[in-house]
């Protein structure tokens, strides 16, 4: 079974045909070449595949592509500004040494974005809760928590 789906991706309208068993992750990486979104476990455990759908962070590896019909999807590629300037969170991750191999980073940043939009001044516990679905197997969690805290404190959140 195949169907045409239409949705907004990083601000642009996209329309394409996909198969009924395609997950959003596969749609993004293999059909649309947006490889910033990663596949870790493929089973909803690690958060490497996190994207925002209508502002909520979700695991795209378990999210059927058919379900994004009419919705707004934001991936890590959609965070940069018009002149390719880094988003506050991206800058903060870079400046605070929160990136080691970088595999978990796109998911971490998108979960952090969803968190800060809900709660612009999270305390340490709220940050931990907000990022609980994102595993870093380089285990640089302290720097990651710092980066989110600093992004919230120093810059405020831009968008």
């Amino acid at each position: 079974m195949r169907k045409n789906i239409t949705f907004t991706l990083n601000g642009d309208r996209v329309s394409l045909e996909v198969a009924s068993n395609t997950m959003l992750l596969e749609l993004l990486r293999d059909h649309l070449s947006l490889t910033g979104t990663k596949e870790g476990c493929g089973h909803g455990e690690c958060g490497a595949c996190t994207v925002l759908v209508d502002g909520r962070n979700i695991n795209s590896c378990l999210y059927p592509a058919f379900e994004v019909e009419g919705k707004e999807v934001i991936t890590i590629e959609g965070l940069m500004g018009p002149q390719n300037e880094l988003h506050t969170l991206q800058k903060s991750f870079a400046e605070n040494g929160a990136v080691q191999c970088g595999f978990c980073t796109p998911g971490m940043i998108l979960s952090a974005k969803a968190l800060l939009e809900d709660n612009p001044k999270p305390d340490a516990d709220a940050i931990r809760q907000g990022l609980a679905g994102n595993l870093c197997r380089c285990t640089g969690y302290v720097q990651i928590l710092d980066a989110v805290q600093k992004a919230a404190q120093d810059f405020g959140i831009e968008d």
Binding site: S20, G44, L62, P64, E69, A114, A132
Partner: protein, 286 residues
Amino acid sequence: MHFNYYRPESLNQAFELMEQSSGQSRYIAGGTDLMVQIKQGLTRAENLISLRQISELQGIEEDDSGVLIKGMTLLRDIETDPLVRDLAPVLQQAVASLANVQVRNVATLGGNLVNASPAGDSIPALLVLDSRLVLAGPEGERTLPLSDFFLGPGQTRLQPLEILKAVKIPAPFENSRAAFSKIGRSAKDLALVNAAVLIRLEETTCSFCRLAAGAVGPTPQRLEQAEALITGRTINTELLETLEARVRQTVSPISDLRAGEAYRRDLAGTLVKRCIRQAIAFKTED
């Protein structure tokens, strides 16, 4: 992994799709469990009928007897809903303990119930709240107590075409307090054991209570013997210790990869006691 995927917009369309589809068909809610099983080849389905587009299954409302939560309400929305905070805070406590934000942003209350995992975190909380379920089928609706819904692991009283439409939670009666507690391998993991308690105290006497626990038998369950033990008695350390021992004796958990049977028994006793302490502490704080 091949399947057709349908997105009906009404209950009637969903029933029709289920009735007319040939081969193995399943309704799917948020899919945080079912989709994993399908990807891993543990469950096969030729047709998945998604319930996410059905507006009759969305929303949280106040009704004449308390609060009504529609089946496809996201766990994340329950966690942050002001009406649920007022009328059923113990459910929020249970739901917030489940997995992580990404999962709670797609997992639904109906999915957590219909999945019928012995460890489903919303279930003990809804059991102590004496919740009822509204099930919808092509012939109409019926209501049944949550305590009658589960038949065994993954098994419920839902008929093949039926869909869990809503959960009805009665408003709390005066002076009652409730609490939920769980232990997993890590804080947000699947529960090794979970428990919930609702208790009404008059001075220090328990005049009414409901106790429930999950992952200590084939279905989450009320702990009636333990309830009888403390009802009408003064709650003190000694009674709580007797209660703990009673819970340990009456539950019938299994051993699996996550925990042994004896450990689960111990946990059940501890958690029920902990819930009561928590619920009572809430009261004295006021």
